[in-house]
Protein backbone atom coordinates (compact mmCIF):
# COMPACT_ATOMS: atom_id res chain seq x y z
CA UNK A 1 0.00 0.00 0.00
CA UNK A 2 1.27 3.47 -0.89
CA UNK A 3 1.92 5.96 1.88
CA UNK A 4 -0.99 8.35 2.40
CA UNK A 5 -0.51 11.76 0.84
CA UNK A 6 -2.40 13.43 3.65
CA UNK A 7 -2.06 12.47 7.27
CA UNK A 8 -4.05 14.38 9.89
CA UNK A 9 -3.76 13.72 13.62
CA UNK A 10 -5.93 15.10 16.40
CA UNK A 11 -6.52 18.37 14.61
CA UNK A 12 -8.25 21.09 16.60
CA UNK A 13 -9.34 24.63 15.99
CA UNK A 14 -10.91 27.02 18.47
CA UNK A 15 -12.36 30.45 17.82
CA UNK A 16 -12.92 33.14 20.38
CA UNK A 17 -16.41 34.51 20.03
CA UNK A 18 -17.40 37.73 21.70
CA UNK A 19 -20.06 37.65 24.36
CA UNK A 20 -22.87 39.41 22.50
CA UNK A 21 -25.65 40.09 24.96
CA UNK A 22 -23.78 38.20 27.70
CA UNK A 23 -20.80 40.49 27.56
CA UNK A 24 -18.36 37.66 28.23
CA UNK A 25 -16.49 36.00 25.40
CA UNK A 26 -16.19 32.28 25.04
CA UNK A 27 -14.26 29.64 23.14
CA UNK A 28 -15.98 27.89 20.29
CA UNK A 29 -14.48 24.50 19.47
CA UNK A 30 -15.06 24.40 15.72
CA UNK A 31 -12.93 21.29 15.09
CA UNK A 32 -12.42 19.04 18.08
CA UNK A 33 -9.64 16.60 17.38
CA UNK A 34 -10.01 14.99 13.95
CA UNK A 35 -7.69 12.27 12.58
CA UNK A 36 -7.66 10.66 9.16
CA UNK A 37 -5.46 9.60 6.22
CA UNK A 38 -6.09 10.08 2.52
CA UNK A 39 -4.45 7.80 -0.04
CA UNK A 40 -2.79 9.34 -3.08
CA UNK A 41 -5.15 9.45 -6.04
CA UNK A 42 -8.28 8.92 -3.96
CA UNK A 43 -11.19 11.07 -2.85
CA UNK A 44 -12.29 11.64 0.71
CA UNK A 45 -15.75 13.19 0.92
CA UNK A 46 -16.56 15.18 4.04
CA UNK A 47 -20.22 15.63 4.87
CA UNK A 48 -21.95 17.14 7.87
CA UNK A 49 -24.40 19.67 9.16
CA UNK A 50 -24.04 23.35 8.37
CA UNK A 51 -21.64 24.82 10.91
CA UNK A 52 -20.02 21.53 11.95
CA UNK A 53 -16.50 22.63 11.02
CA UNK A 54 -15.98 21.49 7.41
CA UNK A 55 -14.67 24.78 6.04
CA UNK A 56 -12.55 25.28 9.13
CA UNK A 57 -10.96 21.91 8.44
CA UNK A 58 -10.49 22.88 4.78
CA UNK A 59 -8.71 26.09 5.72
CA UNK A 60 -6.29 24.22 7.97
CA UNK A 61 -5.53 21.55 5.35
CA UNK A 62 -4.73 24.24 2.81
CA UNK A 63 -2.49 26.18 5.19
CA UNK A 64 -4.68 29.26 5.33
CA UNK A 65 -5.44 29.00 9.05
CA UNK A 66 -3.15 27.46 11.66
CA UNK A 67 -4.60 24.69 13.80
CA UNK A 68 -5.00 25.26 17.53
CA UNK A 69 -3.51 21.80 18.08
CA UNK A 70 -2.68 18.63 16.17
CA UNK A 71 -0.58 17.85 13.10
CA UNK A 72 -0.94 17.79 9.34
CA UNK A 73 1.48 15.92 7.08
CA UNK A 74 1.34 16.35 3.32
CA UNK A 75 3.37 13.95 1.23
CA UNK A 76 5.48 13.04 4.26
CA UNK A 77 6.23 16.63 5.17
CA UNK A 78 4.96 18.14 8.41
CA UNK A 79 3.13 21.44 7.98
CA UNK A 80 3.40 24.11 10.62
CA UNK A 81 2.53 27.48 9.19
CA UNK A 82 2.56 29.15 12.59
CA UNK A 83 6.18 28.11 13.22
CA UNK A 84 7.97 28.32 9.88
CA UNK A 85 5.57 29.35 7.14
CA UNK A 86 5.11 27.40 3.94
CA UNK A 87 7.36 26.87 0.94
CA UNK A 88 6.21 27.93 -2.49
CA UNK A 89 6.28 24.33 -3.70
CA UNK A 90 3.94 23.38 -0.93
CA UNK A 91 1.57 26.26 -1.72
CA UNK A 92 1.47 25.13 -5.29
CA UNK A 93 0.94 21.47 -4.41
CA UNK A 94 -2.12 22.21 -2.30
CA UNK A 95 -5.04 24.18 -3.74
CA UNK A 96 -8.50 25.04 -2.51
CA UNK A 97 -11.81 25.83 -4.18
CA UNK A 98 -13.57 28.09 -1.70
CA UNK A 99 -17.19 27.70 -0.73
CA UNK A 100 -17.71 31.32 -1.67
CA UNK A 101 -16.20 31.85 -5.13
CA UNK A 102 -17.21 35.52 -5.29
CA UNK A 103 -15.09 36.45 -2.31
CA UNK A 104 -12.08 34.59 -3.66
CA UNK A 105 -11.98 36.32 -7.05
CA UNK A 106 -10.44 39.73 -7.56
CA UNK A 107 -13.24 41.91 -8.99
CA UNK A 108 -10.80 43.87 -11.15
CA UNK A 109 -9.13 40.88 -12.77
CA UNK A 110 -10.47 39.42 -15.99
CA UNK A 111 -11.08 35.69 -15.99
CA UNK A 112 -8.36 35.03 -18.53
CA UNK A 113 -5.84 36.66 -16.20
CA UNK A 114 -7.25 34.78 -13.21
CA UNK A 115 -6.57 31.48 -14.96
CA UNK A 116 -3.18 32.51 -16.28
CA UNK A 117 -1.85 33.98 -13.06
CA UNK A 118 -0.76 30.67 -11.49
CA UNK A 119 1.02 29.75 -14.72
CA UNK A 120 2.74 33.12 -14.82
CA UNK A 121 4.02 32.69 -11.28
CA UNK A 122 4.93 29.04 -11.37
CA UNK A 123 5.87 28.01 -14.90
CA UNK A 124 7.99 29.32 -17.73
CA UNK A 125 5.20 29.17 -20.31
CA UNK A 126 5.04 31.94 -22.92
CA UNK A 127 2.09 34.35 -23.01
CA UNK A 128 0.59 32.52 -25.99
CA UNK A 129 0.92 29.16 -24.28
CA UNK A 130 -0.71 30.51 -21.16
CA UNK A 131 -3.58 31.92 -23.17
CA UNK A 132 -4.13 28.60 -24.91
CA UNK A 133 -4.07 26.75 -21.59
CA UNK A 134 -6.61 29.18 -20.13
CA UNK A 135 -8.93 28.85 -23.12
CA UNK A 136 -8.69 25.06 -23.02
CA UNK A 137 -9.55 25.11 -19.33
CA UNK A 138 -12.57 27.37 -19.94
CA UNK A 139 -13.88 24.86 -22.40
CA UNK A 140 -13.33 21.98 -20.00
CA UNK A 141 -15.53 23.59 -17.37
CA UNK A 142 -18.20 24.42 -19.94
CA UNK A 143 -17.59 28.13 -20.47
CA UNK A 144 -17.39 29.70 -23.95
CA UNK A 145 -14.17 31.43 -25.10
CA UNK A 146 -15.91 34.86 -25.06
CA UNK A 147 -15.79 34.64 -21.28
CA UNK A 148 -11.99 34.97 -21.37
CA UNK A 149 -12.21 38.77 -21.24
CA UNK A 150 -14.99 39.04 -18.67
CA UNK A 151 -14.81 40.26 -15.08
CA UNK A 152 -16.11 38.11 -12.18
CA UNK A 153 -19.32 40.11 -11.66
CA UNK A 154 -20.44 39.34 -15.22
CA UNK A 155 -20.92 35.66 -14.50
CA UNK A 156 -23.84 33.71 -13.13
CA UNK A 157 -23.41 32.00 -9.76
CA UNK A 158 -22.72 28.62 -11.28
CA UNK A 159 -20.37 30.07 -13.89
CA UNK A 160 -18.33 31.74 -11.15
CA UNK A 161 -18.13 28.47 -9.28
CA UNK A 162 -16.68 26.88 -12.41
CA UNK A 163 -14.12 29.67 -12.77
CA UNK A 164 -12.94 28.92 -9.22
CA UNK A 165 -12.58 25.22 -10.03
CA UNK A 166 -10.75 25.99 -13.26
CA UNK A 167 -8.28 28.22 -11.43
CA UNK A 168 -7.56 25.60 -8.79
CA UNK A 169 -6.90 22.76 -11.22
CA UNK A 170 -4.81 24.89 -13.57
CA UNK A 171 -1.64 23.78 -11.76
CA UNK A 172 -2.62 20.15 -11.22
CA UNK A 173 -2.09 20.32 -7.46
CA UNK A 174 -1.22 17.11 -5.64
CA UNK A 175 -3.93 17.77 -3.11
CA UNK A 176 -7.09 19.67 -3.96
CA UNK A 177 -9.58 20.63 -1.29
CA UNK A 178 -12.97 21.46 -2.76
CA UNK A 179 -15.50 23.14 -0.46
CA UNK A 180 -19.00 22.63 -1.86
CA UNK A 181 -17.66 23.04 -5.41
CA UNK A 182 -20.80 22.07 -7.32
CA UNK A 183 -23.49 23.35 -4.96
CA UNK A 184 -24.69 26.01 -7.41
CA UNK A 185 -24.70 23.82 -10.50
CA UNK A 186 -27.61 22.16 -12.23
CA UNK A 187 -27.28 18.46 -12.94
CA UNK A 188 -25.94 18.66 -16.47
CA UNK A 189 -23.14 21.09 -15.63
CA UNK A 190 -22.48 19.35 -12.33
CA UNK A 191 -21.98 16.13 -14.23
CA UNK A 192 -19.49 17.75 -16.57
CA UNK A 193 -17.45 19.01 -13.61
CA UNK A 194 -17.57 15.71 -11.74
CA UNK A 195 -16.51 13.81 -14.85
CA UNK A 196 -13.67 16.30 -15.37
CA UNK A 197 -12.46 15.89 -11.78
CA UNK A 198 -12.50 12.16 -12.19
CA UNK A 199 -10.57 12.29 -15.48
CA UNK A 200 -7.91 14.54 -13.94
CA UNK A 201 -7.63 12.24 -10.98
CA UNK A 202 -7.09 9.24 -13.23
CA UNK A 203 -4.58 11.02 -15.39
CA UNK A 204 -2.50 12.87 -12.78
CA UNK A 205 -3.18 10.89 -9.62
CA UNK A 206 -4.75 13.92 -7.95
CA UNK A 207 -6.05 13.57 -4.43
CA UNK A 208 -9.30 15.27 -3.42
CA UNK A 209 -10.86 16.24 -0.16
CA UNK A 210 -14.38 16.95 -1.31
CA UNK A 211 -16.78 18.76 1.00
CA UNK A 212 -20.39 18.40 -0.01
CA UNK A 213 -23.82 18.12 1.52
CA UNK A 214 -25.24 16.54 -1.61
CA UNK A 215 -25.37 12.82 -1.00
CA UNK A 216 -25.88 11.82 -4.61
CA UNK A 217 -22.73 13.75 -5.53
CA UNK A 218 -20.82 12.15 -2.67
CA UNK A 219 -21.94 8.73 -3.73
CA UNK A 220 -20.60 9.36 -7.21
CA UNK A 221 -17.26 10.91 -6.36
CA UNK A 222 -16.09 9.45 -3.03
CA UNK A 223 -13.84 6.53 -2.25
CA UNK A 224 -14.19 7.19 1.45
CA UNK A 225 -16.69 9.25 3.41
CA UNK A 226 -16.15 11.07 6.68
CA UNK A 227 -19.16 12.40 8.55
CA UNK A 228 -18.63 15.38 10.87
CA UNK A 229 -20.98 16.44 13.62
CA UNK A 230 -20.35 19.41 15.92
CA UNK A 231 -16.65 19.45 15.17
CA UNK A 232 -16.04 15.73 15.50
CA UNK A 233 -15.63 13.01 12.92
CA UNK A 234 -18.39 10.68 14.04
CA UNK A 235 -18.19 8.22 11.18
CA UNK A 236 -15.55 7.30 8.60
CA UNK A 237 -15.59 4.43 6.16
CA UNK A 238 -15.58 3.42 2.55
CA UNK A 239 -18.38 4.84 0.47
CA UNK A 240 -20.19 1.55 0.36
CA UNK A 241 -19.92 1.03 4.10
CA UNK A 242 -21.33 4.44 4.91
CA UNK A 243 -24.10 4.34 2.34
CA UNK A 244 -25.25 0.80 2.91
CA UNK A 245 -24.85 0.67 6.66
CA UNK A 246 -24.73 4.13 8.27
CA UNK A 247 -23.75 3.89 11.94
CA UNK A 248 -24.20 7.32 13.47
CA UNK A 249 -27.65 8.77 14.13
CA UNK A 250 -26.80 11.95 12.26
CA UNK A 251 -25.82 9.97 9.15
CA UNK A 252 -29.11 8.11 9.30
CA UNK A 253 -31.06 11.37 9.70
CA UNK A 254 -29.19 12.74 6.72
CA UNK A 255 -30.29 9.88 4.49
CA UNK A 256 -33.87 10.12 5.73
CA UNK A 257 -34.15 13.87 5.13
CA UNK A 258 -33.13 13.74 1.46
CA UNK A 259 -36.00 15.28 -0.55
CA UNK A 260 -38.12 12.92 -2.57
CA UNK A 261 -38.56 13.74 -6.24
CA UNK A 262 -41.07 11.03 -7.15
CA UNK A 263 -44.62 11.55 -8.32
CA UNK A 264 -46.19 9.71 -5.38
CA UNK A 265 -44.52 12.01 -2.85
CA UNK A 266 -45.66 15.08 -4.77
CA UNK A 267 -49.26 13.80 -4.82
CA UNK A 268 -49.14 13.20 -1.09
CA UNK A 269 -47.82 16.68 -0.41
CA UNK A 270 -50.43 18.36 -2.62
CA UNK A 271 -53.24 16.36 -0.99
CA UNK A 272 -52.09 17.45 2.47
CA UNK A 273 -51.98 21.11 1.45
CA UNK A 274 -54.95 23.15 2.72
CA UNK A 275 -56.99 24.66 -0.12
CA UNK A 276 -55.77 28.20 -0.81
Amino acid sequence: MSAPILKVRDLKRDYVISGGMFGKSKLLHAVKGVSFDVERGSTLAVVGESGCGKSTLARMLTMIDPPTAGTIEIDGEGIDIAAHGVTREMRQAVQIVFQNPYGSLNPRQKIGAVLEEPLLLNTSMSAAERRDAALAMLEKVGLPPEHYGRYPHMFSGGQRQRVAIARAIMLRPKLLVLDEPVSALDLSVQAQILNLLRDLQDEFELTYVFISHDLSVVRYIADEVMVMYFGEAVEHGTRDQVFSDPQHDYTKTLFAATPRADVESIKKRLAAKPAA
Binding site: G20, K26, E180, A191, A257, T258, P259
Partner: protein, 285 residues
Protein backbone atom coordinates in the same frame (compact mmCIF):
# COMPACT_ATOMS: atom_id res chain seq x y z
CA UNK B 1 -55.07 40.07 -9.91
CA UNK B 2 -51.71 38.34 -9.82
CA UNK B 3 -49.15 39.43 -7.25
CA UNK B 4 -46.43 39.61 -9.88
CA UNK B 5 -46.97 39.52 -13.59
CA UNK B 6 -44.21 39.74 -16.13
CA UNK B 7 -44.66 39.49 -19.87
CA UNK B 8 -42.04 39.13 -22.54
CA UNK B 9 -39.04 40.08 -20.47
CA UNK B 10 -35.82 40.64 -22.41
CA UNK B 11 -32.42 41.53 -21.01
CA UNK B 12 -29.38 42.34 -23.07
CA UNK B 13 -25.89 43.04 -21.72
CA UNK B 14 -23.43 45.30 -23.42
CA UNK B 15 -20.11 43.43 -23.27
CA UNK B 16 -16.66 43.96 -24.75
CA UNK B 17 -17.41 41.06 -27.10
CA UNK B 18 -20.65 42.72 -28.27
CA UNK B 19 -24.24 42.55 -27.04
CA UNK B 20 -25.24 39.42 -25.15
CA UNK B 21 -28.90 38.47 -24.82
CA UNK B 22 -29.34 36.84 -21.41
CA UNK B 23 -33.14 36.65 -21.57
CA UNK B 24 -35.29 36.38 -24.62
CA UNK B 25 -38.97 36.89 -23.94
CA UNK B 26 -39.87 35.11 -20.72
CA UNK B 27 -43.12 35.31 -18.73
CA UNK B 28 -43.73 34.81 -15.01
CA UNK B 29 -46.94 34.96 -13.02
CA UNK B 30 -47.13 34.51 -9.27
CA UNK B 31 -50.28 34.62 -7.20
CA UNK B 32 -50.36 35.35 -3.48
CA UNK B 33 -49.86 32.14 -1.50
CA UNK B 34 -48.26 30.40 -4.45
CA UNK B 35 -44.82 28.85 -4.86
CA UNK B 36 -43.33 29.25 -8.32
CA UNK B 37 -40.11 27.36 -8.95
CA UNK B 38 -37.70 28.46 -11.67
CA UNK B 39 -35.32 25.76 -12.82
CA UNK B 40 -32.83 25.62 -15.65
CA UNK B 41 -29.26 25.31 -16.71
CA UNK B 42 -26.51 27.36 -15.12
CA UNK B 43 -26.44 30.65 -17.05
CA UNK B 44 -29.99 30.33 -18.38
CA UNK B 45 -31.02 33.73 -16.96
CA UNK B 46 -32.77 32.79 -13.72
CA UNK B 47 -30.97 35.30 -11.50
CA UNK B 48 -30.90 38.01 -14.14
CA UNK B 49 -34.69 37.81 -14.49
CA UNK B 50 -35.25 38.34 -10.79
CA UNK B 51 -32.61 41.07 -10.52
CA UNK B 52 -34.52 42.83 -13.32
CA UNK B 53 -37.67 42.71 -11.18
CA UNK B 54 -35.74 44.16 -8.24
CA UNK B 55 -34.19 46.85 -10.46
CA UNK B 56 -30.72 45.69 -9.49
CA UNK B 57 -29.08 44.99 -12.84
CA UNK B 58 -25.94 46.97 -13.73
CA UNK B 59 -25.96 49.86 -16.20
CA UNK B 60 -24.69 47.61 -18.95
CA UNK B 61 -28.06 45.83 -19.02
CA UNK B 62 -30.96 46.88 -21.24
CA UNK B 63 -34.27 45.62 -19.91
CA UNK B 64 -37.51 45.57 -21.85
CA UNK B 65 -40.87 43.95 -21.21
CA UNK B 66 -44.49 44.28 -22.26
CA UNK B 67 -45.54 44.22 -18.62
CA UNK B 68 -43.77 44.17 -15.26
CA UNK B 69 -46.51 44.59 -12.69
CA UNK B 70 -46.61 44.12 -8.94
CA UNK B 71 -50.19 44.08 -7.58
CA UNK B 72 -51.33 45.45 -10.89
CA UNK B 73 -49.02 48.48 -10.89
CA UNK B 74 -46.20 48.62 -13.40
CA UNK B 75 -42.89 48.69 -11.57
CA UNK B 76 -41.25 50.65 -14.36
CA UNK B 77 -43.62 53.63 -14.27
CA UNK B 78 -43.81 53.70 -10.48
CA UNK B 79 -42.24 56.88 -9.01
CA UNK B 80 -38.75 56.13 -7.69
CA UNK B 81 -39.75 56.77 -4.06
CA UNK B 82 -42.73 54.46 -4.37
CA UNK B 83 -40.62 51.78 -5.96
CA UNK B 84 -38.04 51.96 -3.20
CA UNK B 85 -40.86 51.37 -0.72
CA UNK B 86 -42.10 48.32 -2.59
CA UNK B 87 -38.66 46.79 -3.14
CA UNK B 88 -37.29 45.68 0.16
CA UNK B 89 -40.59 45.85 2.03
CA UNK B 90 -43.21 44.19 -0.19
CA UNK B 91 -40.71 42.35 -2.37
CA UNK B 92 -37.65 40.86 -0.70
CA UNK B 93 -34.91 38.78 -2.23
CA UNK B 94 -32.54 36.18 -0.88
CA UNK B 95 -29.48 36.50 -3.10
CA UNK B 96 -27.61 33.57 -4.58
CA UNK B 97 -24.28 34.41 -2.98
CA UNK B 98 -25.15 35.23 0.62
CA UNK B 99 -21.68 36.04 1.90
CA UNK B 100 -21.23 38.57 -0.87
CA UNK B 101 -24.54 40.27 -0.07
CA UNK B 102 -24.03 40.69 3.66
CA UNK B 103 -22.08 43.76 4.70
CA UNK B 104 -18.73 42.58 6.09
CA UNK B 105 -18.37 45.66 8.31
CA UNK B 106 -21.43 45.18 10.49
CA UNK B 107 -22.54 42.45 12.85
CA UNK B 108 -25.40 40.27 11.73
CA UNK B 109 -27.52 41.56 14.61
CA UNK B 110 -27.01 45.13 13.44
CA UNK B 111 -27.93 44.22 9.86
CA UNK B 112 -31.13 42.50 10.97
CA UNK B 113 -32.02 45.41 13.22
CA UNK B 114 -31.57 47.87 10.33
CA UNK B 115 -34.19 45.99 8.32
CA UNK B 116 -36.64 45.98 11.21
CA UNK B 117 -36.01 49.68 11.83
CA UNK B 118 -36.70 50.51 8.21
CA UNK B 119 -39.78 48.38 7.72
CA UNK B 120 -41.57 47.97 11.05
CA UNK B 121 -42.71 50.24 13.87
CA UNK B 122 -41.34 47.96 16.59
CA UNK B 123 -39.74 49.57 19.63
CA UNK B 124 -36.03 49.18 20.28
CA UNK B 125 -36.66 46.48 22.88
CA UNK B 126 -39.14 44.61 20.68
CA UNK B 127 -36.68 44.70 17.81
CA UNK B 128 -33.99 43.19 19.99
CA UNK B 129 -36.26 40.26 20.82
CA UNK B 130 -37.37 39.91 17.22
CA UNK B 131 -33.74 39.69 16.02
CA UNK B 132 -33.11 36.75 18.36
CA UNK B 133 -36.37 35.14 17.33
CA UNK B 134 -35.46 35.45 13.65
CA UNK B 135 -32.02 33.93 14.18
CA UNK B 136 -33.64 31.07 16.07
CA UNK B 137 -36.15 30.51 13.30
CA UNK B 138 -33.33 29.83 10.84
CA UNK B 139 -31.54 27.54 13.28
CA UNK B 140 -28.51 29.66 14.22
CA UNK B 141 -27.14 28.08 17.40
CA UNK B 142 -26.57 30.27 20.45
CA UNK B 143 -28.30 33.33 18.90
CA UNK B 144 -27.87 35.53 21.98
CA UNK B 145 -24.13 35.40 21.41
CA UNK B 146 -24.06 35.13 17.65
CA UNK B 147 -25.96 38.44 17.15
CA UNK B 148 -22.64 40.16 17.62
CA UNK B 149 -20.77 38.00 15.08
CA UNK B 150 -19.53 39.47 11.82
CA UNK B 151 -20.35 37.63 8.58
CA UNK B 152 -16.82 36.23 8.20
CA UNK B 153 -17.17 34.57 11.59
CA UNK B 154 -20.11 32.51 10.40
CA UNK B 155 -20.06 29.38 8.26
CA UNK B 156 -21.29 29.46 4.64
CA UNK B 157 -24.62 27.93 5.52
CA UNK B 158 -25.02 30.18 8.55
CA UNK B 159 -24.56 33.27 6.35
CA UNK B 160 -27.14 31.91 3.96
CA UNK B 161 -29.55 31.53 6.85
CA UNK B 162 -28.87 35.04 8.14
CA UNK B 163 -29.71 36.29 4.65
CA UNK B 164 -32.98 34.35 4.85
CA UNK B 165 -33.73 35.85 8.26
CA UNK B 166 -33.14 39.34 6.85
CA UNK B 167 -35.38 38.72 3.86
CA UNK B 168 -38.22 37.33 5.95
CA UNK B 169 -37.87 39.96 8.70
CA UNK B 170 -40.28 42.44 7.14
CA UNK B 171 -42.84 39.80 6.12
CA UNK B 172 -42.80 40.62 2.41
CA UNK B 173 -45.77 39.96 0.15
CA UNK B 174 -43.42 38.41 -2.38
CA UNK B 175 -40.20 36.63 -1.51
CA UNK B 176 -37.72 35.81 -4.23
CA UNK B 177 -35.33 33.12 -3.07
CA UNK B 178 -32.37 32.50 -5.39
CA UNK B 179 -30.97 29.05 -4.57
CA UNK B 180 -31.75 29.59 -0.88
CA UNK B 181 -30.54 26.22 0.34
CA UNK B 182 -27.45 25.51 -1.79
CA UNK B 183 -25.10 25.75 1.20
CA UNK B 184 -27.26 23.66 3.48
CA UNK B 185 -27.28 20.00 4.31
CA UNK B 186 -30.61 18.26 3.87
CA UNK B 187 -31.63 18.41 7.52
CA UNK B 188 -31.25 22.19 7.77
CA UNK B 189 -32.57 22.57 4.24
CA UNK B 190 -35.77 20.94 5.43
CA UNK B 191 -36.04 23.34 8.35
CA UNK B 192 -35.61 26.32 6.01
CA UNK B 193 -38.06 25.05 3.40
CA UNK B 194 -40.63 24.43 6.15
CA UNK B 195 -40.05 27.93 7.48
CA UNK B 196 -40.61 29.45 4.03
CA UNK B 197 -43.67 27.38 3.19
CA UNK B 198 -45.21 27.97 6.65
CA UNK B 199 -44.71 31.69 6.22
CA UNK B 200 -46.20 31.52 2.79
CA UNK B 201 -49.25 29.65 4.08
CA UNK B 202 -49.76 31.85 7.14
CA UNK B 203 -49.27 35.24 5.51
CA UNK B 204 -50.36 34.49 1.95
CA UNK B 205 -46.91 35.42 0.74
CA UNK B 206 -46.00 34.59 -2.84
CA UNK B 207 -42.72 32.72 -3.18
CA UNK B 208 -40.44 32.47 -6.20
CA UNK B 209 -37.85 29.79 -5.67
CA UNK B 210 -34.91 29.50 -8.02
CA UNK B 211 -33.32 26.11 -7.60
CA UNK B 212 -31.44 23.44 -9.49
CA UNK B 213 -32.53 20.77 -7.05
CA UNK B 214 -35.48 18.80 -8.44
CA UNK B 215 -36.04 17.38 -4.94
CA UNK B 216 -36.66 20.89 -3.64
CA UNK B 217 -39.02 21.54 -6.55
CA UNK B 218 -40.94 18.35 -5.82
CA UNK B 219 -41.24 19.21 -2.16
CA UNK B 220 -42.26 22.87 -2.38
CA UNK B 221 -43.50 24.11 -5.75
CA UNK B 222 -47.02 24.64 -7.04
CA UNK B 223 -45.90 25.60 -10.52
CA UNK B 224 -42.60 25.34 -12.34
CA UNK B 225 -40.95 27.37 -15.09
CA UNK B 226 -38.17 25.61 -16.99
CA UNK B 227 -35.55 27.83 -18.64
CA UNK B 228 -32.84 27.01 -21.11
CA UNK B 229 -30.38 29.46 -22.68
CA UNK B 230 -32.47 32.53 -21.87
CA UNK B 231 -35.72 31.09 -23.12
CA UNK B 232 -38.66 29.55 -21.38
CA UNK B 233 -39.09 25.92 -22.36
CA UNK B 234 -42.12 24.99 -20.37
CA UNK B 235 -44.46 26.14 -17.60
CA UNK B 236 -46.50 23.54 -15.80
CA UNK B 237 -47.97 22.68 -12.44
CA UNK B 238 -45.58 20.57 -10.45
CA UNK B 239 -47.37 17.26 -10.79
CA UNK B 240 -47.74 17.57 -14.56
CA UNK B 241 -44.08 18.46 -14.88
CA UNK B 242 -42.91 15.34 -13.08
CA UNK B 243 -45.57 13.01 -14.45
CA UNK B 244 -45.65 14.20 -17.96
CA UNK B 245 -42.84 16.61 -18.87
CA UNK B 246 -43.51 17.99 -22.31
CA UNK B 247 -40.23 19.63 -23.26
CA UNK B 248 -37.19 17.53 -24.12
CA UNK B 249 -34.97 19.59 -21.81
CA UNK B 250 -37.27 18.89 -18.87
CA UNK B 251 -37.22 15.19 -19.69
CA UNK B 252 -33.46 15.21 -19.89
CA UNK B 253 -33.32 17.06 -16.57
CA UNK B 254 -35.51 14.50 -14.84
CA UNK B 255 -33.83 11.47 -16.33
CA UNK B 256 -30.33 12.70 -15.49
CA UNK B 257 -30.45 12.53 -11.71
CA UNK B 258 -27.05 11.15 -10.60
CA UNK B 259 -28.74 8.07 -9.16
CA UNK B 260 -29.54 7.19 -12.77
CA UNK B 261 -25.88 7.39 -13.87
CA UNK B 262 -24.88 4.57 -16.13
CA UNK B 263 -21.50 3.11 -15.39
CA UNK B 264 -18.75 5.55 -14.65
CA UNK B 265 -19.99 8.66 -16.40
CA UNK B 266 -22.73 11.11 -15.60
CA UNK B 267 -24.81 12.56 -18.44
CA UNK B 268 -23.41 16.01 -19.26
CA UNK B 269 -24.52 19.07 -21.17
CA UNK B 270 -23.57 17.40 -24.45
CA UNK B 271 -25.59 14.33 -23.57
CA UNK B 272 -28.56 16.55 -22.74
CA UNK B 273 -28.35 18.14 -26.15
CA UNK B 274 -28.20 14.70 -27.74
CA UNK B 275 -31.17 13.58 -25.64
CA UNK B 276 -33.08 16.66 -26.68
CA UNK B 277 -32.34 16.16 -30.33
CA UNK B 278 -33.29 12.49 -30.20
CA UNK B 279 -36.51 13.52 -28.54
CA UNK B 280 -37.28 16.19 -31.11
CA UNK B 281 -36.78 13.64 -33.89
CA UNK B 282 -39.23 11.36 -32.15
CA UNK B 283 -41.82 14.11 -32.04
CA UNK B 284 -41.32 15.15 -35.66
CA UNK B 285 -40.60 12.02 -37.67
Amino acid sequence: MALLEIRNLRVEFDTAAGPFRALDGVDYTVEGGEVLAIVGESGSGKSVAMLAVMGLLPESATVSADLMAFEGIDLRTMPAAERRKVIGKDIAMIFQEPIASLNPCFTIGFQLDEVLKAHTSLSRKARKDRVIELLESVGIPDPLRRVSAFPHQMSGGQCQRVMIAIATACEPKLLIADEPTTALDVTIQKQILDLLTDMQRDTGMGLIMITHDMGVVAETADRVVVQYKGKQMETADVLTLFENPSHPYTKALLSALPENATGDRLPTVADYEAMMQADVREVQP
